[in-house]
Amino acid sequence: MIKIKRDQIAGALLVIAGVVVAILVSQFSTPMTASYPGPKLMPLIAAFGLVVCGGGIFIIGTIKKGEEDPFLIKEGWLKIAVTVLLLIVYVLCLKYIGYLISTPILLFVLSTLFAKGNKASLKARIIFSVGFTIALYLIYVYLFGLSFPMGLLFE
């Protein structure tokens, strides 16, 4: 079975992105002329760069011999997926229940997840989660006068 290399995937993604951008740019209403390129030129340069570099990276990746180091093992990807999912839930919670409730929960879960295999007592994680949430709130809101999400349910 042919093994697809990371550079081949990177190259293909860049070429696809470049083509999509070029199609979107062609729909801009302001015309592009030799004497005044208008708003189309810069995105087209970027699209050109993506296609050319993507093609180059793909070709080099195909020609290059030898095994490449894996970016992450399967367990690593799983860890990333769980973290991203947690953060999506956190952002939703920020919207509905606000910073003060959702942040200590996220910090506790993240520090537990990140600490896997390291020493971190339950008490220390709870103190960190609650303490950091309050400290950050006091600094941002009271010291610097910025506003934090209070949550739709409490507004």
Binding site: R6, D7, I9, L13, L14, V25, F28, S29, T30, A34, S35, Y36, P37, G38, P39, L41, M42, P43, I45, A46, F48, G49, L50, C53, G56, I57, I60, F71, L72, W77, K79, I80, T83, V84, L87, Y90, V91, L94, K95, Y99, T103, L106, L107, L110, S111, T112, L113, F114, A115, N118, A120, F128, F132, L136, Y140, F144, L146, S147, F148, P149
Partner: protein
């Protein structure tokens, strides 16, 4: 406005002093811990400045930056792991010194060298920037476009063997910078009817997502590496004598000039200057074989050079509005939020702000030196902050930074999206520095390009005007430098074969 009076007024405010010291400490911690950097500290805490006045914001952001630059040597010396790219070559001799039981001496060299580089470059920068700004008045949109172009391409030229990936990253940055209404024509681009995208993508959201959030998530995916133990017994006294410093005078001056020049070049910065200064110190040493085995000159050279690049980078930033490196690119963006547009006009409109910057750099260098001297024995403990607490806290700060920018949860979601893009970029092996530079320089690049076309209606003017012509040739040459280098070495080897 009386410049000296304004600067004294700023430093007479207890809040500003507290922020300077606090930000310097935070910067030192970010600089010292491998994986974090002063640049990331500036990114993370930039939204805090939204509620500050311009003077306080400048003091706060510059203190973070200087702290980060000054602290980068700590990880290099004590762990053999550079705190940031600016201290890579400090590892070469700094860590062997630690292994030989000379950690205290190596740290003291790092402190004094950092102070020397930063302090002197701030003074020289303050003296030179107005002169450079005077020259900048002779520049039109063609030259500005060419300067931005060179800044991006020079970064690509130093991404060894990764030219295509660097260029792809720069293209992504350029593309992201075009989201929203276009300059001059006000054509909506890539907004898809979404009102949040009309004003363009937020710098905080894009850069924190791609640069910081993705890095922390990927590090967790890879598994946090345990920090090696440091022998604190070898850290005694201040470690160096005045005589030893005097013995390094030539090395210090040479490294300072290298750092200042590389910092001055658009797009270059401490990441390159430390390597060049180290090579120069080794090449001119009477005992080059001792380099890599704990030669103090190998710590002096990179530390003076990477800090001298600070003042060097501030010169094009203030005088031309062109960043010397990625942190100054961020500072330009942050100052725009406070209504300050860098460039030659800033000396006429807000000269006091420019000199406040240089004064802050000089004062920060002194504060960092004092804090490092006092807290020398604390460094090993700073490096042992558990990753599970540190990264959890930084992720929350990053997301909250996105929110406070415009009190919008939408921006937190956008940051997650850019975090995802950052993870994909990491997987594809695309570097982030070219993206940062081109994302921030993109709008300046485009505006000047369109203005130039409005004036002359032809692309030829970019090449026929002397300064822009030279810069364009350098820029294009940088893009094709790998091919040109290969051609050159092929010609050379053919010549050698013919003579043999």
């Amino acid at each position: 406005m009386d410049i000296i009076g304004y600067i004294l007024e700023q430093f007479a405010q207890p809040m500003n002093i507290a922020l300077l010291v606090g930000a310097n400490i935070v910067g030192l911690i970010f600089g010292a811990i491998p994986g974090l950097s002063g640049t990331m500290a500036v990114m993370l805490f930039m939204p805090l400045t939204f509620a500050m006045d311009a003077g306080t914001a400048i003091i706060f952001l510059i203190s973070l930056w200087i702290g980060g630059c000054s602290g980068a040597f700590i990880g290099s010396i004590l762990l053999g792991i550079p705190g940031s790219a600016s201290a890579v070559s400090t590892c070469f001799d700094g860590y062997p010194m630690t292994k030989k039981g000379q950690a205290g001496k190596a740290l003291a060299i790092g402190m004094v060298a950092s102070f020397t580089g930063t302090f002197l470059s701030a003074i020289l920068g303050a003296l030179l920037s107005q002169f450079i700004a005077g020259i900048a008045f002779m520049m039109g949109p063609w030259e500005y476009f060419a300067l931005c172009f060179v800044a991006i391409t020079l970064v690509l030229a130093i991404s060894k063997g990764q030219m295509l990936k660097g260029l792809a990253s720069a293209s992504i940055g350029l593309l992201l910078s075009t989201v929203g209404f276009s300059p001059i024509d006000a054509e909506p681009r890539f907004v898809f009817g979404n009102m949040h995208l009309m004003g363009g993508l937020s710098m905080t959201v894009v850069l924190l997502g791609i640069f910081a959030l993705s890095m922390m998530i990927v590090e967790f995916g890879k598994g946090f590496k345990p920090v090696p133990k440091v022998d604190t017994k070898s850290i005694k006294g201040f470690g160096i004598t005045f005589r030893e410093i005097r013995g390094q005078t030539v090395n210090i001056i040479r490294s300072f000039l290298i750092g200042l020049w590389i910092g001055f070049l658009p797009g270059m910065g401490p990441g390159l200057s430390n390597l060049v200064a180290y090579s120069a110190a080794k090449a001119s040493s009477k005992e080059p074989e001792t380099f890599g085995q704990g030669n103090p000159a190998g710590v002096w050279a990179p530390e003076v050079a990477n800090n001298a690049a600070i003042g060097g980078a501030l010169i094009p930033m203030t005088a031309l509005g062109i960043p010397g490196d990625s942190t100054t690119a961020l500072l330009i963006g942050a100052l725009t939020i406070h209504g300050l547009e860098m460039g030659p006009m800033v000396f006429r409109n807000s000269g006091h702000i420019v000199y406040l910057m240089f004064a802050t750099v000089a004062i920060c260098a002194l504060v960092a030196l004092l804090m490092q001297a006092v807290g020398m024995r604390v460094f090993p403990h700073v490096l042992r902050i558990p990753y599970h607490y540190m990264y959890s806290a930084l992720i929350v700060i990053a997301l909250i930074s996105a929110y406070v920018e415009s009190a919008s949860i939408y921006k937190c979601g956008m940051m997650l999206l850019f975090g995802g893009i950052g993870i994909i970029m990491g997987y594809c092996g695309l570097p982030t520095s070219p993206l940062i530079l081109s994302f921030i320089l993109g709008p300046i690049l485009e505006l000047n390009m369109l203005k130039a076309f409005q004036y002359t209606g032809t692309v030829a003017t970019f090449f026929t005007r002397p300064i822009s012509g030279i810069l364009m040739v350098i820029g294009i040459g940088s893009i094709f430098s790998p091919i040109l280098r290969k051609l050159w070495s092929a010609i050379k080897s053919r010549k050698q074969a013919n003579t043999a």
